[in-house]
C-alpha cells in the first residue's frame, strides 16, 4: 500500500468522461439546432441526402445528448465525487481503476456504433431505446461493469455512511438496469427464420398496447433515472462543495429520496393518457404525477435553502449561478410536468410542441446547466489549473439562459395554439382548420425556437473553449482548492 503522502484521488477516468461530455455536447446540440431550423426552414432537410432529413436526425439528436452528453457528465461526476464522499481513491484499487477505463472504452465503442446505426436507419424505433439487440447487449455489459465498479468502491470505503449522492447513483444504476432490460426484450429474427435477413434485426417481445406500456414505463423513467436521479446526485455534492455550505437538511433529503423512488415509477402512464391502455392506469399515472411534485420540490428546495445566508455567492460565483438556476428550472419543469399529466390539459398538450418545450426547459435549464457547473467545478481539481475565464462563464450563463427562455416560451405558445386549433369548431360543429393550417401558423415560433437553440449552442461553444483553455492554459494551482473554484 502506498504511503499517505503520495495517496491522492485519481481523476483519470473522470477526465476521460469530461472530454466526451464536451464533445458529445457540441455534436448533439449542433444536430439539435439543425433539426430545429429544419422545422422553420424545410429546405435544410436536403443537406445530406437521405441521411439529413429531420426524421433521421431526430433520434441522433436525442441519443447523443442523452447517452453521449448526459451520461458522460454523470460518469465524470461519479468517478470524481464517489471517490471523495466514500474517501477511497481509485489509485488504491488498481483493478477497479482498470475496469473503469475498460468501461470507458466500451462506452466509446457503443456510442460510435449507436451514431452509425441510427444514421443508417437501423432502429428498434422505441423512443430512447432505439438500439438494436447487439448494441443492447453491449450496453448491458457496460452498465454491469459500472455496477461492479460502484459496489467495489463502496466496499472499500472509509466513510461508513453513504452520502446522499451515493443513494442517487445506486438508484440510477438499479433503475436503469431494471427498466432497460424489460423494455428491450426482443427476439432476433435471424435465429428463428433459418438465417434470413439482416442479422441485427429483431422484433419486440411485446405487441401494441403492452409494448406502449412497457416503452413509456421505460421512456418516462429514463427521464427519471438519467435526467433526474443522477443529476440530483450531482447537485447534492457539487452545490454544497462549491459553496462551502453543508446541505440544508439531511432529513429532508432522506424524505425526498424515498419519496421520489416510490412515486416516480408510477407516473409513466401519463404518456399514454387517452390512449388504449386501461383507464385506471391512466388515472394512476395522472395522480402519481401530481404527487411527484412533493419529492421533486423537496430536493429542489433543499438545494436552494443550502444557500441560506450565503446568497451573496450568487452574484460572485458563476458556478453557483448555474446550479441555483438549475434547481429553479428543476422546480419549474417538475411543476409543468404534472400540469401536463392532468387529463384535461393533456388532451390539448399531447402530440404538440408543448411537450418538447417541457422536455427542453428540463434538460437545457436543469440537466445541462448542472453538467456544465459540475464539469467546471471538477476542471481545476482534475487539471490542477485555475478556470481560464470567469467573464466567459458569466457571458455563457446569460446567453444560455436567454436561449432557454426563448425556447420554452415559444414552444408553450406553439403547443397551446396548435392544440386549440386542432379542436376548434365553427358554429355548425365542423372543424375550423385543416391540419396544414395548424402547421403554417407555427412558423414564427419554430423560428424563435431555433434562435433560442442557437443561443444555447453558442454558449456550449464558449464553454468548450473555456474548458479546453482551463485544461491546457489555465494558471497552475499549487494545491487543490477546498470549496470555491478559483477562476481568472
Amino acid at each position: 500500500m502506498q504511503s499517505s503522502a503520495a495517496l491522492e484521488y485519481d481523476y483519470s477516468v473522470a477526465k476521460l468522461y469530461m472530454w466526451t461530455a464536451v464533445i458529445f455536447g457540441i455534436v448533439g446540440m449542433t444536430i439539435g439546432v439543425l433539426i430545429a431550423s429544419q422545422l422553420a426552414f424545410p429546405e435544410l432537410n436536403y443537406l445530406m441526402g437521405e441521411y439529413g432529413t429531420f426524421s433521421r436526425l431526430r433520434p441522433l439528436h436525442t441519443n447523443v445528448v442523452v447517452y453521449g452528453f448526459t451520461i458522460s457528465g454523470i460518469m465524470a461526476s461519479f468517478y470524481y465525487s464517489a471517490q471523495r464522499v466514500l474517501k477511497v481513491s481509485l489509485a488504491e484499487l488498481p483493478f477497479i481503476n482498470f475496469l473503469a477505463k475498460f468501461q470507458f472504452v466500451a462506452y466509446l465503442i457503443a456510442a460510435t456504433l449507436l451514431v452509425l446505426s441510427l444514421g443508417m436507419g437501423i432502429t428498434a424505433s422505441k423512443e430512447y431505446a432505439q438500439m438494436e439487440w447487439p448494441l443492447d447487449i453491449l450496453i448491458v455489459v457496460y452498465w454491469v461493469i459500472w455496477g461492479i465498479n460502484m459496489f467495489a468502491m463502496i466496499g472499500a470505503r472509509r466513510e461508513k455512511a453513504l452520502y446522499i449522492s451515493m443513494w442517487y447513483y445506486i438508484a440510477c444504476f438499479l433503475g436503469v438496469a431494471m427498466l432497460y432490460l424489460f423494455n428491450n426484450m426482443e427476439v432476433p429474427t435471424i435465429f428463428f427464420s433459418g438465417g434470413l435477413g439482416a442479422w441485427y434485426h429483431s422484433v419486440s417481445m411485446y405487441a401494441g398496447t403492452n409494448d406502449a406500456l412497457v416503452q413509456w414505463w421505460w421512456g418516462h423513467n429514463a427521464v427519471a433515472f438519467v435526467f433526474t436521479v443522477p443529476i440530483i446526485a450531482m447537485i447534492y455534492y457539487f452545490l454544497p462543495k462549491e459553496s462551502g455550505q453543508a446541505v440544508y437538511s439531511y432529513k429532508l433529503s432522506l424524505l425526498s429520496f424515498w419519496g421520489l423512488m416510490f412515486v416516480y415509477l408510477w407516473a409513466g402512464g401519463h404518456h399514454l393518457l387517452w390512449s388504449t391502455v386501461p383507464d385506471w392506469m391512466q388515472t394512476m399515472g395522472s395522480i402519481f404525477s401530481v404527487v411527484l411534485i412533493l419529492p421533486s420540490w423537496g430536493s429542489a428546495i433543499n438545494m436552494l435553502l443550502t444557500m441560506k445566508g450565503e446568497w451573496n455567492q450568487l452574484t460572485e460565483n458563476p458556478l453557483i449561478k448555474f446550479m441555483v438556476l438549475a434547481s429553479t428550472f428543476y422546480m419549474l419543469s417538475t411543476l409543468e410536468g404534472p400540469i401536463q399529466a392532468v387529463k384535461s390539459v393533456n388532451a390539448i398538450a399531447h402530440f404538440t410542441d408543448w411537450i418538447p418545450g417541457h422536455v427542453h426547459d428540463g434538460v437545457l435549464g436543469w440537466v445541462a446547466f448542472m453538467v456544465f457547473a459540475a464539469l467546471m467545478h471538477m476542471a481545476p481539481r482534475a487539471f490542477k489549473r485555475e478556470i481560464y475565464s470567469k467573464s466567459l462563464l458569466e457571458a455563457q450563463f446569460w446567453i444560455q439562459t436567454t436561449g432557454v427562455v426563448l425556447y420554452f416560451t415559444s414552444m408553450w405558445i406553439a403547443g397551446i395554439t396548435q392544440g386549440m386549433m386542432w379542436r376548434a369548431v365553427d358554429e355548425y360543429g365542423n372543424l375550423m382548420y385543416s391540419f396544414i393550417d395548424t402547421v403554417s401558423v407555427l412558423h414564427p415560433y419554430y423560428t424563435i425556437r431555433a434562435i433560442g437553440g442557437l443561443l444555447y449552442l453558442i454558449g456550449v461553444f464558449m464553454f468548450a473553449y473555456n474548458f479546453f483553455m482551463t485544461a491546457t492554459a489555465g494558471r497552475k494551482l499549487e494545491q487543490e482548492p477546498q470549496f470555491r473554484s478559483p477562476m481568472a
Binding site: I170, G197, Y206, G208, L265
Partner: protein, 222 residues
C-alpha cells in the same frame, strides 16, 4: 431510511429495488393478460407490408406522425374512428408516436390513394403546398429489404403464434417461393396504381423499391 440503512449498501440497494419495482408489479403486469388480443377479423401484416413498416421505421416517420386516434370528436372528425387496443395486436413494436408535427396516420389508408402517397413522398409540396415535410425521393431508388421482413414474419409466427398461413416457413427456399408467388404480385398491383414508370419497371424486373412497400403499409392502415 432508519439511520442504519444508509450504512448497509446491500440492504440499501435491495430496499431501493423493492420500492422502484413495486409500481411495475401493480401497474404494468396485469395488462399483459388482457391487451394482447386482436380484434375480430384482424389480419397479420403481409410480408410486403412488414417491409413497408421497416421503411417507416428506418426513415423514422414516427418522429412526426402518430398512429393513435384519441376518443375526442375533433379527432374522430379529422381522422376517423378512435383507435382500439385490439387493432395493435400485431404491432411489434407499437408505432403510436408521441408528436404530431404532421397528421395522425392510423387510418390514412381510408382517405389517401397510392397515387397520392407516391406524389407526396416524391415532393410533399406538390400535394400540400405549405407542407414542411421533407421529400423522401430515395425511397424510389432504394430496394426494400423483403428478406428481413420475411424473417420477421417467420419469427412472429413461430414465437408468438401470429396466425400466418403455411406459406410462411423458415429457410431460403420458402422465402424465394413466397417472394415470387405472393410478394411480387402484391407489389405489382401497387406499382400499377402509382403511375410511376420507373417504379413499375423495377417491380417488373423483380425488384421492389422501398416506396412500394411503404405504400403497401400505409394503405393497410385503416
Amino acid at each position: 431510511m432508519f439511520h442504519w440503512l444508509e450504512k448497509n449498501p446491500f440492504l440499501f440497494s435491495v430496499g431501493v429495488f423493492i420500492v422502484i419495482a413495486f409500481a411495475g408489479l401493480i401497474e404494468i403486469l396485469p395488462n399483459f393478460a388482457e391487451a394482447a388480443r386482436p380484434i375480430k377479423g384482424l389480419k397479420p401484416y403481409t410480408v410486403l407490408e412488414l417491409a413497408g413498416k421497416e421503411v417507416y421505421k428506418k426513415d423514422n416517420c414516427i418522429a412526426c406522425h402518430s398512429q393513435l386516434i384519441r376518443p375526442f370528436k375533433s379527432e374522430t372528425d379529422r381522422y376517423g374512428k378512435y383507435s382500439l387496443s385490439g387493432e395493435y395486436a400485431y404491432d411489434r413494436p407499437f408505432l403510436w408516436g408521441s408528436k404530431r408535427t404532421g397528421p395522425d396516420l392510423h387510418r390514412v389508408g381510408n382517405y389517401r390513394t397510392p397515387d397520392w402517397h407516391a406524389n407526396h413522398m416524391w415532393d410533399p409540396k406538390s400535394v400540400v403546398p405549405d407542407s414542411i415535410m421533407p421529400a423522401y425521393k430515395h425511397q424510389f431508388k432504394n430496394v426494400a429489404d423483403l428478406e428481413t421482413a420475411y424473417a420477421e414474419a417467420v419469427t412472429v409466427k413461430n414465437v408468438f403464434n401470429t396466425p400466418y398461413g403455411d406459406e410462411i416457413q423458415p429457410g431460403k427456399e420458402a422465402y424465394e417461393k413466397y417472394l415470387k408467388e405472393k410478394a411480387l404480385p402484391e407489389a405489382l398491383e401497387i406499382a400499377k396504381k402509382m403511375k410511376n414508370k420507373e417504379v413499375l419497371e423495377m417491380v417488373q424486373k423483380g425488384q421492389i423499391p422501398e416506396i412500394v412497400a411503404m405504400i403497401a403499409y400505409l394503405d393497410r392502415l385503416k
